[in-house]
């Protein structure tokens, strides 16, 4: 199962899923409030995920 880090909750979880979209749905996370990295590369919701992938759901930061 791909390992998923949820930055907002500072938590690592394992999710059975074949795409980023599925991960977000299963974790009930609004795709608009996060940017998604897969193995340190920014990806979109459509991106496929496999066993060894390391996914990070990082909060969108806007303050200045």
């Amino acid at each position: 199962m791909p390992k998923v880090f949820i930055e907002r909750e500072n938590k690592h979880v394992e999710v059975t899923a074949s795409s980023v979209k599925e991960i977000l749905q299963k974790l009930k996370i609004n795709p608009e409030v996060v940017i998604i990295s897969k193995n340190n590369e920014l990806v979109t919701e459509d991106s496929k995920v496999s066993e060894k992938d390391e996914i990070k759901l990082l909060s969108v930061i806007s303050g200045g």
Binding site: E32, V33, I35, S37, N40, E41, L42, T44, K56, L58, S59, V60, I61, S62, G63, G64
Partner: protein, 229 residues
């Protein structure tokens, strides 16, 4: 003499080149005041853009302002303070909110986004697109981000697809250490961009509470960038 320590690193010729460059700073809050101070000290000309007034709660992190500045205009106050730091550079200030009709204020060699909202950032992205290099910076709580947006390379929309309401410093707070760190990264990247010396291509994210640094590769994923590549 003034730039002797910096010249030792970048060279006399590069310092001369920097003295001919102008950086436009959008937003004179925490990031804007910190980075403009570093740029002024480095001998780079400045255009300062902000419409806001100084509030007592700004003093915790907005390094150009002191108690007697509360309620004064940020742009004019910053100009005055920066001229005290370096009278040899050109500094102009604009007490304006960036909108569709005054985007020409961004005309410069480099724009640094020190705003606090995606609406203004998307305005900068559209105006500067494949024309003016700019640095996107942001910070909240203990985390900051920086991304260089260089003509013909991925743009802001390759990271953020939509304009949404996000966490605000008023509600979630921000440490002054993270803004000063991001401002330092921005100054370094400014010098690299202005001198054409391999600026960072990754999205940089730093959490100053746990010292976690992330370098994330960004690809051309927005419609506009995909068409132009």
């Amino acid at each position: 003499m003034r730039y002797a320590r910096q010249e030792k690193l970048i060279g006399k010729q590069a310092q001369k080149e920097l003295s001919k460059k102008t950086v436009a700073i959008v937003g004179l809050g925490a990031l804007g005041t910190n980075v403009s101070s570093l740029l002024a000290r480095s001998g780079i000309n400045l255009k300062l853009i902000d419409f806001d007034k100084i509030d007592l709660t700004n003093l915790q992190r907005q390094s150009l302002y002191t108690e007697k500045d509360v309620n004064k205009q940020k742009a004019i106050t910053s100009e005055k303070k920066l001229k005290e730091i370096n009278s040899e550079i050109s500094i102009t200030s604009f007490n304006e909110k960036l909108n569709d009709s005054n985007l020409h204020l961004l005309d410069s060699n480099l724009v640094i986004d020190c705003t606090d909202n995606l609406t203004t950032r998307f305005l900068i992205n559209d105006y500067c697109y494949n024309k003016i290099p700019w640095i996107h910076t942001a910070a909240i709580k203990e985390t900051g981000v920086l991304f260089n947006i260089i003509p013909n390379k991925p743009c802001l929309k390759c990271i953020y697809k939509k304009n949404i309401d996000l966490d605000r410093c008023e509600d979630f707070g921000v440490l002054n250490s993270i803004v000063s760190l991001i401002a330092s990264l921005a100054l370094t990247q400014s010098i690299k961009i202005l001198l054409n010396k391999d600026p960072e291509t990754n999205l940089i994210r730093f959490n100053i509470w746990n010292n976690n640094l992330e370098k994330i590769k960004v690809n051309k994923t927005c419609e506009k960038c995909q068409k132009s590549s």
